[in-house]
Structure formats: C-alpha cells, structure tokens
Symmetry: D2
Subunit: 434 residues, 4 copies
C-alpha cells in the first residue's frame, strides 16, 4: 500500500504539483494518478492545501449535500500544526473536532497540587470531579502508590508437536535472560520483566510484560517481542508466529488477565474524607455512602457479571483525561477498570480506588500534539523524564487515579444524597430536547 | 452548589461585571465573590472573556510555569461557539483540544455509501479502516441488521422485609403496564420495554430497558425510572431508592449483562470477501485469516478471561467514531464489545461482527456541538428523525458496526500477512522516539 | 455402537449364556463375541454376575495387581439393586463407592422443619451446616422464594445467508406460539417459556427455556427443541442444526448467562439472626460478620474475577446435597453460583442468598436410585408431585438454598471468629498426614 | 462446640454407655445429656451402634414417616468401616449412599494404559468416555504435561494506614524468603512458591501458592499461611487477619484468577485422532468436528459469557472421577474449567485440552476411604509417593485431563454426527418418565 505512494511522490513530481491548480490535482485524484490518501505526501509540506483539496473531493464526489452549507464547512482545519499529525497520528485528514477542556482541582495529591484537565462533552462531569477534589483537599488530600508497572504484548505462536509446545513454555522459564537480552537489544528504555505462557492445542500464547519508560509502550514492546521470538526460533525452529498480538495481551478489550495481572501501571489511591466534609460539602452521611458503595459498586456490579467494573463512573474521568492529554481513548476499556472501596474509619470515610491497568504515556502517539502536550505540561508530566525514565508516565497514572477518586467521591455522594437526576437534568438538557 | 452561582449572578451584577476590568474580576474570584466555576455565568454571554480570565487565573494562581510560554498558551479557545457548551457539555472551561479527523470509506453498506469519519491520534487507524472498506466494497459491500434496541438504567431500591422485596419483583411482572404508563408520562419518545429484577438481601436491582428515540437516552430513562418508582412506592410504601443507578444497568463498566441482554442498539453486520480480494488487496489467504481468527479472537481472548472482547480492535474504531460524532467516549467500554466471526464459505471469506451494546444518539450531549454534528451530517444521520423517530440513532449504530468490520478485516489481514509491526513502525514512530 | 449389543443379545443367546461358566463368558469377551460393555445385557437379569465377571476381566486383563489383595476387592458391588442402574445410570459397572451421609438440621424453613441430608467426605462440613441451621432456628427460621423457573437448552443452527439468520431470530419472536406448540407436543409436563437468540456469523444460538415439571429437565427440553427446530426448518429450509447443545445453554460450565438469566430454579432465601445468637452461638459479632462479608465475599471475589462466586462455600453444601439426593454433581458448577448478602438490621444480622441457577429434579437420573430417593423422601420431596407438578423439584431447590444459607452463616462466623484453621485441623487431619 | 463433646465423653462415661440400652441412650440424647452429634464419640468404637441410634432418633423425632417403610431403612449403613469416617470425613452420620462406578478405558496415555474409574448416575457418560478412549487408543494414545503446580490460599488482612498496606505488598516481594521459611516450618512437604498481593482500601488480599506434595493441600497451606502471617505481623504490627481465606484463593467458586494463574495442577493433554478413526469409529468427519468446536465450545461459550468453560462437558468426567476417587466434589467448580481445542493437522484431527486448575490429592480427605482409595490404586496413584513426593497427585491430574479428553472427543463426535438426543434417550429414560 505504502509503496504506491512512494512511487507517486518522487521529489520531481512534488515540485510540479505545487504549481498545479487545486482543480488539476483533484482531476489527478479522480484519475487515480494521485491516491486519495496520498494527498498529504503529494503536496507536502503544504498540508493545509492537501486537506483543503481532500475536503473538496469529499464534498463533490463522496458526500455531496443539498444543504446550503456543506457539513464539512463546519469542521475546522486551518491554523493547525499538521506536520505533527501527518504520517504519525491520522490519515485521510479532513480537519479536527474541538473537544472542550475543563479543569478540575487542583487536587492535593502526595503532598502537592496537581491540575486535572478533562476533555469532555458530558455536562456536570468536570464540575463533579472538581467538587470531589475540593472535598478531598478539605480533608487533607490524597495518597497514591504504584504497585506494578509493565506494558504487555502476547504473540501467539504455533509449533509442530506437543513436545515443542511444552518446550516453548519451558524455554521462557529456563532461558528468560536470553530472551530478555534479545528483547532489550531493540530499545534504549525497555526492560523485559516476565513472560507468561498459556497453551491451547499446539499454540502457545506468550504474554510479555516490559517496563517501557515514559512511553505507553505498545510499539516498543511489539518490536522487542519480534526480536525475542527470532531468538526463540533459533532454538525451536518449527515455531511460526501466527500473530504478534494474540489477544492474551489484552489490548482494548475487557479481560480478566489485565484486571488480575495488571497492564501499564497498577495504581492504588486513597483519601480519608472528614465527617464534616461529607456532611457539609457533600451533603450526605458517611454511613449512607458506605452502604451505597456496597449496594451499587459491589452488589450491583456483581449481579451484572462485571470483571473489574466495581466503581461508579471511573471511565468518565479516564476518558476525559485521556482525550485531553493525547492518550489512546480506546484503552479506556481496560484503563478504567477500578474497584472503589469505601469504609468507615472512626467517624470519617476512607475512600480508595484500585486501578490495575492504567495505560498511559508521556511521549508518543497523541501526546506529541501541541494542545495535548500542553495539558500534560499543565499536569507537570510531559515528555520523557530525563532523570528518572518512566517517572512522567507513572505520574500521569497517579493523577488519573487521583482524579478518578474525585469523580467517584462526588458521584457516590450525589447518589447517596439523591440528586443524580437533578444534576444531570440541569446541566445537560435543553427544554426542547427529546 | 448551583444555588451560590445563582446568587452571584443576578442580572444587575452581570451588567456591572461587564464594565469591570479583567484584573478586577480576577480579584473577585480570588476573594471568592465570584466562584471560579461561575465565571461563564457571571460574564455571559461573553464566554470568551470568561474563559480568558479563567486561563489567567490558572496561569498565575494554580499552575504557574517558569517556561517562556505557559502551556495554556498552546490550548486554543477562541473562535469557538461556547454557548453550545456552557451549561451543557463542560464546566471550568479552559479551551479545547483539537482531535484530528480522518475519513475512511465510503463503505458500501445496505446498498448505499456511507462515510466513516474518525477522530484519532493513532497512526494507521484511518488508513487501515479505509483499506478494509475498500476490500468490502470490492466484494459487493456489507449488510447490517439491528436485532434489539433499548437503553437501560437499573435503580437499586430497598424494602423492609423479604416479602416486600418479592412483592417488588412480582409487581414489575404483574403490573408492568402501570409502570410503563408512569414512565412514559415523562417523555415524548421513550417507550418502556421491560424491567428485569435481581434481588440481593432486601435490595432489588431493577433494570429498566426503554426505547429512547434518537437520543442515546440515559437522561430520558433516568427521568422515567424516577417516575415509575414513584408509582411503585404508592403500592409498596417501604421502598427506599438507594440510587437511581445501581450498576446493574451497566453504564461505562465492563459487564456480562450488557453482553448478554444488550444495551443501546444490538447490531450484527456481515460481508463476504471474495477470495481474489483477500489475496490481491489484503495480501493473505482466506484460510490464514480464518485460522487466525480462531487463535487470536476466540482462543486468545478466552485464555485472557474476556467477556465480550472476541475481536481484534473494535474499540479503536468505536472510540474514533464516538469522538468524531460527539458520542460519550466513556461508553466505548461496553459499546466496543464485539465478537468477530470469520468463516470460509465456498472459496470466499464470511466476515461478521456481533455487537450487542452500541450506545449512540443523534441528539443530545456532544452531538449538538457544531463540528461533531457536522460529522453526523456527513454520515447522513444527524438530529432527530422526524419521520421515523430513532432511525437516525439506529443508523449511527449500523455505521459503527460496519466501520468496526472494516477495521477488523484490515487488522486481521495485516496480522495474517505478518506486517503488524512494520505498519505501526512506519506510521507512528519518529526515529528519535523512546 | 448399541446396534452391536442388540445383535449380541437376542433372547436365545441370553438363555444359553446363563448356562455357561464365568470362565467361558470371559473367553467370549476376550474373543469379542460378547462386548466388554455388553455384559449386563448379555447376562440380564443376573447383573451381579455380569459385574462379577467384568471385575474378573479388569483384574486379570486390564489392571493386574501384584498386591495380595486386588484394589477391586475393596469396591463393594453385591446386595445392590442393579436393575435400577443398568441401561439408565451407569455402564461398564464395577460396583459402587459408598459416600458417607450426615444429617444437618432440621432447618426451620418457611414455617416447617426440613432435614438436610449431605453426602460428603469433607470433615466439618455437616457439623458446620448443622450449627448454621441451629443458629437460624434459634432466630425464628428462614424464608425462601422461587423467583423464576426454567431449564434451558441452546441449539446452534446455521443458515445460508445473513437474511435467513435474521429471519430465524425474528421467527422466534413472531411465531413463538407455533414453536411452543411443537415443543410441547413432545412432553406431558414441559411448557416452553422463551427463546433467546444470539447471532455469530450465520449461526444462530437459540436458548430455549422451559418449565419441566418435577424433572431437572435436560432430556425433556432436548426432545422439545428437536421438535421445534423441525417446525422452524419447514419455514426456513436452509437451517442446519450444528448441535442441539451449543453451549449458550449453559450446562456444566461457568457462565454469565446462567448467573444473569437463571437456569433451573432461581431462588432467594433469607434469615434474620438475632444479635444474641450471633454472639452466644456463633461466638462473634454482627459487625464483624457484616464487615467480613464485604471483604471476602464481595471484594475478594471481585478481585478474583468471579462471575457468580460471591459466597463463602456454597458449592460444598450444594455438592453434598446433590450427591445425597441423586442430582447431577457436574451441575454443581452453576448450581452453586450464589451471592451471599449480610447486612445489619437494627441490632440483628440479615443474611440472605441469591441463587439463580439451581438445577434439580425430583424424578429421573440418580434420583431414582433407592438410597438417593430415600434422601429425597426424608426431605419430603421425592418423585413427581401429582397435585402440583413441579412443586417437589421447587422444594428441593428451596431446601438447597436454605442449606447453603446455613453453611454460609456458620463458615462466615467461623472466619470472623478466627477459627477456620482450628476447626479443619481438628476434624480433617491425622497427626501423621502430609 | 467440640469442648462439650469432650466433656460428655470421658472414658468412664463411655464404659457405662456401652452397657446401656439403645432406648436409654436415646433418652439421654433427648434430654441433651448426650449431644445428637456426639453419638459416635459417646459410643466409640461401636460406630454402627451410634449410627443406628441416630437413625432411630431421626425416624421418631425429626422425620417421622407415615409410610410402611421409613426412608432411612433404605439407606445402608452396616458393614462399613466407620472409623475411617468418624472425626475426619463426616458428622451426624446416617449411613452412606452408594454411587455406581463404571470403568472407561483403559486409556493409552504417555505410553502406558490407565484405567478410568467413574462414579456417576448419568446414563451414557461412562460409555461415551469409553468410546473416546477407544478412539484415542486406536490412534496411538495421548500425551499429557503438567505445566504448573501450586495450591493456593489467600488470606485477607487489614492494616491501619495506606503506607502499611503498601508495606505489606512490598514485604512479600522483598522478604519472600523469610515468609517462605516460616511457611515451610509447618510442613514436611509444602514449599511456598509465590505470594500475589491485591489491595482494596486498607485490605491486602495475599494469594499464597505452594507445592503440597501428594495432598490436595488446602489444610497444609492454611497452616503455612497462618505461620507466615505471624512473621509478617512481627514487622507490620497493625496487621489484623480478617480471614485466612478471603476468596482471592479462589476455592470452590468460579473465578478468573484460577483460570489465568492456575490452582492445583495446570495440565495440558493432546491426542491426534486418525481420519479413519474419526470416520469409522466416531461416525463423523474431521471437518465437522473442527467446525463444531468453534461454533459450540468457542463461540457458544463466548456468547454465554463464560470464563474457562470452553468445552463440551469436562465437568461430567471430572465429577465422576472425583467422586470415584474421594476428591472434593465441590472443587469440580474450578477443576473442570477447560478449553478444548480441535484442529485439523494434515488429514487427521488434533484434539487437546487446557486445564489450569485441577485440584486433586492422593492422600487426605475422602481419598483415605477404602473404596475410594481402591479406585486410586486401580489408577496406580494412591497414597503418598515415597520416591517422588507429589508424583501421585500429579498423575491423578494427568489422568483426569486424559479422561476429560476422551469425554470431549466422544461427545463432540456425537453432536457432530447428530445423535445427542438418541443416545440420551436410549440410555437415560424410561418410557414412563416425565
């Protein structure tokens, strides 16, 4: 696929394209001399023009509209730094959707204040998280800890015999250092931590777990796995890699393996909310929230057959922070698994969250886009941490857990006080709405 | 919380604030005369100014920076239609993050072409989906069907005795029409379809399922539940509503109940990919993909203990389309549950997806923001469908399923052909990256 | 397979075999004139002889032993009513294992006393259940309710097109009465209640749920499904039944569908344990048990990724009663799913269990064997209930739930009081044991 | 509870009781001078008499019957070795239920023949397993491997602060050897292998995994945990053990943790079934079984939301072998989790099972009862293996996996050939049945 682009885009051609009119270029796309998806590369570095031309083609050829104003005219694309996007973050670009960003907090966390930027279109979410942060701050702040760290990738390989399948499993135990060396030869930061094997027939599903510095790490680990499998193949030649990702990873799908083994950062956080704060700020009682937590977050989720969904709305906060900071929003699926625990300690309320698979990075992917990176800077954890590699991504994970705790506190208090309905109705709905 | 805003914002005050300088207003926020979160209401309709002032406060008081340029200076906020956001979609606004939008397709689906707008920062995702669409189109397009429809909400109530708990369950069966009438008195479009009860101690978890027109429907159903519970309380007076949402719903958490019972729209889709297309466009063989689907999407996910995650990367496509069209990205958690089935039929390949809980709306929430609504218009399903209420939201769900199928096809083919690594490496990584 | 037996066992042959010596018959088995598994039929009605001869063959030909006494000499087989077993409950018979039966209770349940026979080899289990029953009785007994009833079976069928697969799903909704009539034409007692369809590719998984009288009902429903599918095939001729059981049932496997939809009998039970009883009989406090229930049965099971395992040891009690009463012990897998809820009400303790899939019968299978049937008689619910068909099997389910509650109460109290270790150590272990 | 027995049973008393009439003793039970459950100890070693007297009391006082023959008269109790039961395996003894034992196989496994004793009342089960064994033997037998071994127990402890909870987790990593030494000081055979911690609030759930020799090992590990926690408490004094078993173990409940981490023995097994055998013995085709395995054991179970239930009927075989050999039948819940994989290799069929949590012992519990032990002897793995501790229990696990494979093969072939219904109907049903 990419080869054809390469052919179409020799530098001579690029020169000549710049001098052609938009209409001429559109004709070349129609006649397949330029690929529709190849416009950016054909017109580089004038990405605005490439996008403008694509929009024109979409408007005329793909999605014609009878409306006075074509929908695309409402999608902004100008004054944006497209060279950070092209070839890295998006293809067939039409423009961008603006997602509103609100700020909750700052939250007093591990002894210092952190801002909580959230990109969302759900009314009340930022306000609610903000209220939770305030209640936590009034009670002295919260604490977090990172219990485990490791991005995972699970290739699935196949061999020719039962004995060889067993041999693959044993090799990972007996020659771990050899595979580790191969893996780490591909990366400056990555450190292979473990390989967990599961057999099904003559397939072996091999879950690699690795420290990946400040990157979320999926690409780093994929490269490392590829190399390690090469070494394994030298010893067990019949191995065929069916896929570098065999879903035992598990990426972007609900799974117990991430809930139990962790993926990315495994974080816990807690805060003790003073009785007074519960009653005066959150307008309910400690006993009511403790009881509701059992009824809703434990029993309700248990009746629903949930694995890892023992919380009120962790995904709301995770999704909003992920979009604001350029994380991968599809990873909200597993990053938002969370058990919220609420207990009475003395007269006060102990609140905590257990989040075993927060997948975040301070570099790579969407974190490199200017606005998203700015939000990481606002949180104090953008880019690679030169002194302590990985510390920035760990801090993002901690902040996410802290923010989730704010969201849990506020929503649980809202439910306990009985004003779920009113809050949403006020903030999110127009009288004329359906 | 909202009352204090009201007090602070009488119209007289607003007048006078407009004439004050930014610095004076900042002082009023510092002295708590104006609430930090109340700036938009205090300065309405000059939301740009409200946001500018908040940014100033964040820069000076909350997140001071020693850098030459403060991070917030990189976050855009001007030239945006904030009155669609304030009071509905976001609070404590700082600006917006632009999320790049690419277009995949159009996909030939149910006999007509549909565009697939995707907002993403993951390199290769749009290109991959586009390639999948092309392969499907070359094979004659795809078909979809909506098997079931119903947004759900599950209040948890408590009673004083075992007998009353049983009575609640029986009442929902025996007097369903009465509860339905109460529910539907609160809404023009909503139709209550069923109530499913589960008991735990003297709690009853009542899962309401309702048709909600073109809205995703969470607020509509919450209001209806509230009313129905009021009627129930007339007959079983000891009922106490512990929460209008008791997690048996289940919203934004992984759960088997949604996988098995459905939530939102339950959609299936299929396409038959010609042998030639598999080999020439996708560069692999039918047998290889069929086999890989078993190894990865069935066995791998089964070994991982997944409920509903029997797919390659449905969440990628769902998240990208949800962000592009203003859906709730936290609902990607359950909306992306999907079983991808791949079988050989004759010499060709039968591809299908089973997606029981796609939660989407054509009105409400983020779908009302201009750019997001434009993307729905591009897909031909924005706003309430006057002729056939619900048809627009159903169409969104179908398009999502169709797009997921494109993504599955392309990625599975990529895995089967062994170029996962190379595709990601080329598109997503800078040579200098970690 | 069975045909060869038929051939080997014409009545003339049987006559002649009776007059042959054991050694001659052994020779005929060795020379394959009589099938090893056909001995009972060959020598009927002298089953003792058939078994004795088989034991001889096993001892000499299959499992010779150098020990002075062959292991089989320790397995009893005489003085047993084998005609109830042959052709119905077991094949290739060697004898029987005696499983010790203890009695717990009687338990005061729904206003009358019921005995709890338990067949077990786990020390302390009967004593513990007995203690739980005593505590419940001292507090006034317990209450049960059956919320739902229906054995399930889910054939998987395949069709030739997407449209036909959809048609299968729609047919089940639109023509339910037609399928119901076909189903019920095969059975005196069975009543089809619902059909729930799920699609995967061009397969439809159809979960039939039916009332099955006093039988556990698997065979009854299988026969009914077969007939209903025949009728369906008349309308959608391309249907092929891949299997009468496609695992969406789900039988004898852990599954969320049974937990959420129920299978067999869905029962809840509760008891209020007086504060005094908790303290004096169970030697702990209400607060301690309530707290432990959250820590262990909710949080612990949630961390473990359990679907339906929110209890202390329901399976112990279920297995013991199933073996005692001739139920299918493989169904303990799903019959033991249970959520144990413990709350404080006033000063007392509210204990309850939610058990959605208790699969039991009062007739059929092992319930027809004399000792097992005697245990059902002891419980007052053996055989078909002539007046109210199904009432006996419902009562078994209620008693199982009541017994589980006794077991939960006692074990939870034991844990809360800290003597798990000591109880097991005393009862179950020899000083010389490993 | 046990203390009162002790008081009632001084040796003097025992003397005198022996000389009393049954009626006198019954009076003493009625007047609570002898506890109902204390009869065995009161009359030791005349256990027959104790049981006879208890039966009398049950017949007259607890479960009087108007029938001509009391149900208990049908429950055998004489001629049984009660001293192996009393104080170890059962309390409140009434007698025993005989469970019919059939033999399947022998199965050619790992190069030698093993008999498969099964205790069951389900018609066709032994015959079906036998048929599977025959097909495997005709194809050259099967292979097994044990991938992992470790019984688990997860105490839940609580501490006074977040920092201490973290400290507990860290201590298990940093001072594992210290805890291991403490654990192993309590046992001759047990070897602590790992401790896996999960936090929820200020609770830590600590999953200990240990080699337990030839014992199933629950008691051994409980004792070891208790000791290790004692050592931990010396370093983190605020620790309170809420329970020695906090369900993160997980024992006798469905759970993902056992499916993913294993419990007891993790075994895989495979056999290649020749095309000819599939067609002539099993009466179906390789392609049909391969396809059905995907439809039923993968897709059907996936649609059902199963964790670990990707098989046809593993629990049937596991339950039957567990009852025959004195294993704990409540552990069938997790011991029967199994993924059955069926693939085509060349023209033949590759069959395999993945069973990560087979919990079995060759000593202890019901394995010490004469008949059950005899069945272990028949399999060649009774009692502690002196030369290689643990080898006997490992062999039991391998045989269970092999037998499960036989059962899977036969049932899948039966389904594929379409005769599920007929087989069950013939074997299990009386014409007059319901």
């Amino acid at each position: 696929m990419r080869r054809s682009i390469a052919l179409a885009c020799s530098s001579a051609k690029i020169m000549s394209l710049a001098s052609k009119s938009d209409e001429e270029i559109i004709q070349q796309v129609r006649s397949k001399k330029i690929a529709f998806y190849g416009l950016e590369q054909a017109l580089a570095p004038d990405y605005d023009r490439a996008i403008r031309i694509r929009r024109e083609i979409v408007k005329t050829d793909m999605c014609p509209s009878t409306a006075s104003k074509h929908p695309l005219d409402t999608l902004p694309y100008q004054n944006y730094n497209w060279e950070r996007v092209v070839g890295q973050c998006c293809e067939n670009i039409l423009g961008y959707v603006p997602v509103p960003v609100g700020i909750a907090g700052p939250l007093m966390m591990d002894g210092k204040e952190v801002a909580l930027p959230m990109a969302t279109t759900e009314g009340a979410l930022v306000a609610s998280t903000h209220r939770g942060a305030r209640a936590i701050n009034l009670s002295g702040g919260c604490r977090t800890a990172l219990l485990k760290e490791g991005m995972t990738r699970a290739p699935v390989v196949e061999v020719d015999s039962f004995e060889e399948a067993i041999a693959v499993c044993r090799f990972c135990e007996d020659n771990f250092e050899m595979l580790k060396a191969a893996f780490e030869s591909t990366t400056r930061f990555g450190k292979l931590r473990s390989i967990k094997c599961a057999m099904a027939g003559r397939e072996v599903h091999m879950r690699f777990s690795a420290f990946t510095g400040d990157a979320m790490g999926m690409n780093m680990i994929t490269k490392g796995c590829d190399k390690a499998l090469g070494v394994l193949k030298e010893h067990i030649p019949s191995i065929r890699v069916l896929s570098l990702s065999g879903n035992f990873c598990t990426d972007k799908k609900p799974s117990a393996v991430n809930w139990i083994e962790g993926r990315g950062k495994s974080v816990v956080a807690e805060a003790v909310i003073k009785k007074d704060v519960v009653e005066k700020v959150l307008k309910c009682t400690v006993d009511n929230i403790v009881k509701l937590n059992v009824s809703k977050n434990l029993r309700g989720s248990a009746l629903a057959g949930s694995i890892g969904g023992f919380n009120a709305h962790a995904a709301n906060v995770v999704a909003a922070m992920y979009i604001a900071t350029g994380q991968d929003p599809a990873q909200v699926v597993e990053s938002s698994t969370c058990m919220t625990s609420i207990d009475k300690v003395g007269e006060d309320m102990l609140l905590s969250v257990t989040m075993p698979s927060i997948e975040v990075g301070a570099v790579g992917g969407g974190t490199g886009l200017p606005s998203q990176r700015a939000m990481l800077e606002l949180m104090g954890c953008a880019g690679a941490n030169a002194e302590s590699p990985g510390e920035n991504s760990r801090q993002i994970a901690r902040v996410v857990a802290g923010a989730v705790m704010c969201g849990e506190l506020s929503l649980m208090a809202g439910h306990a006080a009985g004003h779920l309905l009113s809050a949403h109705m006020k903030l999110n709905r127009k009288p004329s709405g359906p």
